[in-house]
Amino acid sequence: MSDVTVTEAQNERELMLSTSPHLQSRWTTKQIMWFVNLALAPCVISAVLYFGFYQLLVIATAVIFAVGTEALIQKLTKKPIAVMDGSAVITGLLLGLIVPPNFSLVSTALGSIFAIGVGKMIFGGLGYNIFNPALVGRAFLQAAFPVAITTWTAPNYAVDSVSSATPLAALKFDGVSTAVGPLFFGNVGGSLGETSSIAILLGGIFLLVTGVANWRIPAAMTIGVIVFGGALWLIDPSYPSPIFHIFAGSFLFGAFYMATDYVSSPITGVGMWIYGLGIALVLVLIRVFGGLPEGVMYSILFMNAFVPLINRYTRPRIFGEVKS
């Protein structure tokens, strides 16, 4: 009897099976993705403003190749082509914004192909990837072209001493600190989208207000950097101050756009705090004691690997379950 009912129901409409809790979101996946793309607009504008129109070409290349790769792989594996959900556009935009100014278009395209192909589609596409695809692409570019990816062109309006080095590299290798003013507006050397803190904050606050990005992760990362970076700074003031940690390099960009990626971040509230604090700890360690001036990419990728573990150990108890 029951079999018959199910069959009839299936005939009428597709039955959707999912585990509880059956919470509904305000937005669909597609809407969320396009919100993130919209939130990245200020960063694109600041990139073009500070580094010239060529950067628009770099960003466009990254987006086109990301979308193209995803469509091609979905076609080859005979899956529905779902590039219009905007997730590949995000990966492309993010990758385009974290390469240095005047980066070669061929290498950008390669990074996009790798990001989507190896970072995302190999795991099964949207929702299955362990690591943030854009960061996977960036890490590949870093390993493949170590010289080109650390060649920083000064922004158009650069007047101060930080001309061809990023503020973090200047501090680490030459002991030259950069004032917070240029760091805040973005008039410093660095990757396309990461230099202007104000543009990132604009997009970031938009994401937080709409509820697209969870506030816990950026908050945990900021608190973590203030605590860990501040502790080291108090011990020895020659280490970067917490304010410098936050506004220099790609910390803000990573905190708002990279670490909050739904797929590669924890799903529980407690888990998000652990994840954010973990990123901050690894980041401060790399920046202060590591050989590289910047560590946002590696710290996020590192913590991405722990996400399944964090999810497992912060799993909420079932209602009525007794603590064992």
């Binding site: 061929v106 390993a143 493949a144 072209f145």
Partner: protein
């Protein structure tokens, strides 16, 4: 052995169906470490094949004399003898190549592929079959290391067997000649081959099901009862 395997299959199984690198995942250490160029990969594979073939022959000949308790030690001793021969010959004849492969030539002694074949095959089969099996495994190893080295050399240093094949406009991907490149290329190659295998299996299974679905229908048309589905 229950099923008689033809001599030809004894050779070909190592080339593809039981490819030591892609299917058995044996000998990973040389496969990952020395394949920065096609030449290194081929040299390594040839050296390994030499050691494998001759130690298989010897072990197969004396397989009934070796006491079971000390067989592993005996295998290693015989393998080490041939590795020493290879090492000395390479140092004398190809000093440059020997220098490039460095400690990986003496390390052939502990290549699990070689010991694995002795334990699994040579110590249980006649010398002729043992040699054929070793040559097959060696060919498989050569294909794997050659292609892996070729891909890494082309992408990582623009050359193939020392000849420039990519234009100067191509930026070499430095990562490919670093250890990370070995893991990346091997992983992607294995993934691709497994994917092709799965597809083939899938197709065969579907054909089988289709055949079985047709048979009972046909017999029913003749008014017969379906007795079994096998």
């Amino acid at each position: 052995m229950k099923k008689q395997v033809t001599l030809f299959t004894e050779y070909t199984k190592g080339v593809w169906d039981q490819n030591p690198v892609f299917k058995q995942v044996l000998g990973m250490c040389p496969a990952l470490a020395v394949t920065v160029s096609a030449m290194n990969g081929i040299a390594m594979a040839l050296a390994t094949t030499f050691v494998l073939t001759f130690s298989s022959l010897i072990i197969s000949l004396i397989r009934k004399v070796i006491p079971t308790q000390v067989r592993i030690a005996s295998f290693i001793l015989i393998i080490a003898t041939f590795v020493t021969i290879v090492d000395l010959v390479m140092r004398a004849q190809f000093p440059a190549l020997s220098k490039e492969l460095g400690p990986y030539i003496p390390l052939i002694v502990v290549n699990c592929l070689i010991l694995g074949r002795q334990e699994a095959f040579s110590s249980k089969n006649t010398p002729g079959r043992a040699v054929l099996d070793s040559l097959g495994m060696g060919t498989g190893f050569l294909i794997a290391l050659g292609s892996l080295g070729g891909i890494r050399e082309i992408l990582g240093s623009r050359t193939f067997l020392g000849l420039q094949v990519m234009p100067n406009a191509f930026d070499p991907w430095l990562v490919m000649i670093l250890p990370a490149g070995a893991f990346l290329s091997l992983g992607l190659m294995m993934g691709f081959l497994n994917h092709m295998n799965l597809r083939k299996k899938d197709r065969e299974e579907r054909e089988l099901v289709a055949r079985h679905l047709q048979e009972p229908k046909m017999s029913l048309e003749h008014g017969e009862e379906v007795k079994s589905w096998s």
